[in-house]
Amino acid sequence: MIKYLLIRLASALPTLLGMTIVAFAIVSLAPGDPIEQELRAMGIVPTIEDLNALRAKYGLDKPFIYRYFDWMSRAVQFDFGTSIATGRTVINELKLHFPATFILAISALFGTILISLALGIAAVASNQNIASFLRALTVVLVSIPSFWLALILIYIFVFYFGWARLVGDGSLRDLILPVVTLSLGSGAALGRVVYERIRAEMCEDYVRLAIAKGVSPAKILLRHITPRIIGPLATAWTNALGALLGGAVIVESIFGWPGLGQLILQAISQRDFPIIQAYLVFMGLGFFVTSLIADIIVIITDPQLRRKNSHE
């Protein structure tokens, strides 16, 4: 297993390097001068010398390649520079905002797992009409954009019932609506996966034998089918975590949840290059880590792969 992990990590290095180049290039080559934007918005009249001094301070006066290698040499030491807009270090900004996003994404993952299992199992266990309804519901939930879903939930739970606040202070109570918004879409999408996996297993001989022996459907699902499908499902759920981390941006903005989404939206509008670059790298790393965890889960849950890795 350790050997596998080392190979996996080594093979990821070129990908991560490529990711840093893309992240840096996307941001650096994007139009807009953060210094001019900030100063004009502030109504400040600098001289051309002042502007040049500020650009030099943030290294914006140097060629792209120089800036990239300078940035990389610091980034490998987790020094991503200083935010142009706030003056705080980028690492501090990430530390300030990441916990809220992580809690939101983990909670949404939990919700996603519950919803996907509930929808998938219900669709398998229901009669034709209910199964059709659930499939239609799944299609609606998958298709509906998260910002629209958020507005519907706000109307129902904030304005109609008054059960929730729209703009909270980051407390657990304020987590519910953003989590539900994120979970419904991804839960519905993965509910289809759960449904198809169970349906596929139900066609297998061992399930037919269990039915013939009079084993109850619940027991068949829990004892026979679940061990066979839990690996692929866990992989799908883990991969969903990466998507939830990235997809939280809009939802965080709508609900005022103080996470990375708020940070990155503000950084983009202000052309806060150091923040945007670090965010892109950070999200790339997030996807890499979640896919690595997904691979490990596959190995752990698949007896054949487990044996193969333990022999190597």
Binding site: A30, P31, G32, D33, E36, Q37, E38, L39, R40, A41, M42, G43, I44, V45, P46, T47, I48, D50, L51, A53, L54, K57, T82, A85, T86, G87, R88, E93, L96, H97, L151, I154, V158, F159, R165, L166, V167, D169, G170, S253, I254, F255, G256, P258, Q262, L263, L265, Q266, S269, Q270, R271
Partner: protein, 514 residues
Amino acid sequence: MFKLSSAARLVSAAFLVASISAPAFAAENELTVAFKRDRYSVDEEKFTFTVRRPAAQIVETAVKPDANFLPEPLLFKSWDYVDGVYSITLREGVSFSDGTPFNADTAIAALKLYDSGRSDFLQIDPESFEKSGPFSFNFRSEVGSSLVIENMTHRATSLFLTGTNRAENPIGTGPYLFENYVPNQSLTVKRNPNYWGEAPNIDKLTFRFIGDDNARLLALQNGEIDIIGEVTPQMLLSMPQDGSVILHESRPIRYVALLANLNGAAPFDIMHDYKVREAIAWSIDRETIASVLYAGRGIPAKGILPGWMFNLGDNHTDGFGYDPKKAGEMLDAAGWVMGSDGIREKDGRKMTLRLVAAYPNVSSVKPMPEMLEQMFLAVGIDIDLVEVDDSGVYSSTYLKPGEGDLFMEFASNNNTDPTYLLNNLFTTKTPWASYQLTAPGPHVDAMLEQARAAQTRDEVIEKVRAAHRAIVQDDLAAIPILLVPNFTLSRPGISVPMSEYADWVDFGQVTLSD
């Protein structure tokens, strides 16, 4: 016995009344104000970025703008400018919130601290400070400017106590004390009990940073916030009309105008011809646009600086009415004749103009670009409309390389220096290099140079009037469309003392009627 029991009852009743009414007296009144972005910054080196709206409650400027944007006393009691020397007399009896007296020494230290900022625009010569008394001192401008006091009305020049950590506990002379700050979430200030000036009405102010426009409006409707400090045109369009949200407005200050590409290369050279610019100015139905946008609160513009500002007056510009027939005749005279397809032509070239909308973003002027497109089409001008929702793209992709004929801007002279806007947008020596293409030429450069070098206020204003007229009338580098107020929204029962300068809306002096 009866009397005793009656007395006891009376005493009990008095205690009861007192116990009920006492909390009412002692109760803190709090206000939550929502802003779009957290502009509170902690970088010591660029502290000019740190004192925007919320933090401005903690620190104060030397002077503040009066109703006409002229400086009036605040921490400076009086000032004089003679032969390049500013003589300052400070207000006495003022202390910083930690008890340190505000006097000539602390004021000079605060101004020197500002001078060390990298975006210093006061341009005071730091070596020129000379204390002349416990509450008076002199200094010179590095560049011989007579506008240093005007520039001190900018919130970014607020005076901090030096030697303290401004990031963690900024200390100023203002009506509020720093209480709590959660980046990108909220900033809370509480009333300064020892404030030297008029005590604020509100005990505690919480500034909430809510990026999403809809979320800000919905939060106000849901009673989670009391005031919205940054109002977008979309919020005005979706604002409920049932009285649950109250609109507060200042006098018109922001302008919407089309900046003409006066120096562009082909194919963006059609606007070089004054007759074309004038025809465009006459083909805009400003009354109709004013009735559609900004809740109908905008007014047709004769310039980009409102007449009340700096006592400029309304008579130095004539403006343009709506006369499509006249516009057509002007285009005919310029050689642009109507083609069979309804689009004018000259020497085989179609009259297609690229209109780039807008600074700071197209959302702030919607649906004006489409309305203008139809108005221009009616006089035979085809519009290639480019809509951008990002000021970086607007500036770098279109304005700087001159990739457009007309550039729509929604902005304001957000500085009490009368030359600020005109100098930055219409001179060849502008620090905003993108705007060199909207500069009419050496005559306007000279007017604004003279304005900046003028040594009396009256002379400055006279030169600014002349430059303004050149820009919006005689040269038409900017084709004015609307002037729009500054807005805030609140729940009912709140009266907001509005200011045209968004940084000077004094939320501490908000009055509550419920």
